[in-house]
Amino acid sequence: MSKKVLVVDDDPDVRLFTQTVLEENGYTPVLAKNGEEGEAAVRKDKPDLIVLDVLMPKESGIRLYRNMKTDKKFKNIPIVMLSGIAEKSFLRSQKVLTEFGGDPVPDPEAYLEKPVDGEVLADTIKKILG
């Protein structure tokens, strides 16, 4: 059975692009358009990997990332961040949230800045999922 990859992004073009890359590489994509939908999809579909945007309506990728990595049921799901937000800003935000009293979280398995080449995205996912 092919591995399931959850794509959480509010941009329909990015969702379509990522979906195509995933299907071409034998993965089953599951799509969500914000952090809130993404979190529901994680619970329902139990994906093998998450491709996650940062800046989205309702719930950002920062919050979803944190929720996943501090939940013992989901913390081992690898996450590839795919965003226009700089990696440095993402990492700083997590540090600040930890300083505010949150649990420490590990760095994501990969961080790709938009726009990303399809091959780079596919290779990154392959390396993680084996």
Partner: protein, 300 residues
Amino acid sequence: MNAKTRKNPDFHKMLFVTKFEELGFDALQSLLVLRGAGLNHVVLMNVIERDRVAMHRGLGYDKTEARKLREIANIRFIDWAESLFEKGMEVGEYIVVGNMVSQVLHAAEEENADFIVIGQRSKKMMEYFYSGDDIIELLRRTDRPVLIYKHLESNGCECLPDNPFARTLLAVDWSPASLSAVEYLKTLKHVAQEISVIHVAAPGELKGASNMAIQGLRKEKRGRMEQICDIFEAEGISARCHLYVGESIKEIERAAREFNATMIVLGSSGTSAWTERWLGSTPRAIVEKSGYPVLVIPKT
């Protein structure tokens, strides 16, 4: 979620609506003082109005142009969001094409925003930004507080206060909406330095009255305002009350000047004829004409 089911008054989630020219990152930064009142989530919103990208009649809108404008807005928001994320804030964004008021109402509902911020620069510049009519329509249709944020004119230049809530002027008429404003302002104890509570009595209330009756009116109004000041003082916010007599719009503006206010706060929406009068004229005129940022709070 409507006003009847909304949670307690607070300022945790802000919908910040901008066209960039009237409200920039400096305006957003100045509102981050609300972190002291629990602000932890900023939703950035840019509405590309259809007429900016409209094609000839009946042909819809130019999607290529809309896409370009979206990307330009996105570049700005990414920059702002990085800075906000690094401060530990939660950030979201909406860049949409459509009618400004409808889109803002929709996003506020979707996000369950606690309040909306929208910009308005000086009157001479207003034609370039959200029209006064749009803001008035938004105020009429929303059940959320709306901050109409403006640059203050000072010594010939336009500037933003470091803390727009530092010296708040609250105009009260004891309508349900102005009492709701009291509830909101109570949450600003770590943000507001002083609240000036004012009431403007109509000259008609004094007409034909004896000196004793006028003194009695003053005593009664002051007593009621003192009760509101006591509420703020109990929360640790310094508050003073002041009675004015005259035309409400002029007197509120005068009071704002006299107390060097950084913001005017008014109640909105009511059902009684008296409140309707207040609503129909005063907040509308203050929003449209005042040189101060104005926070309009609906009844809860």
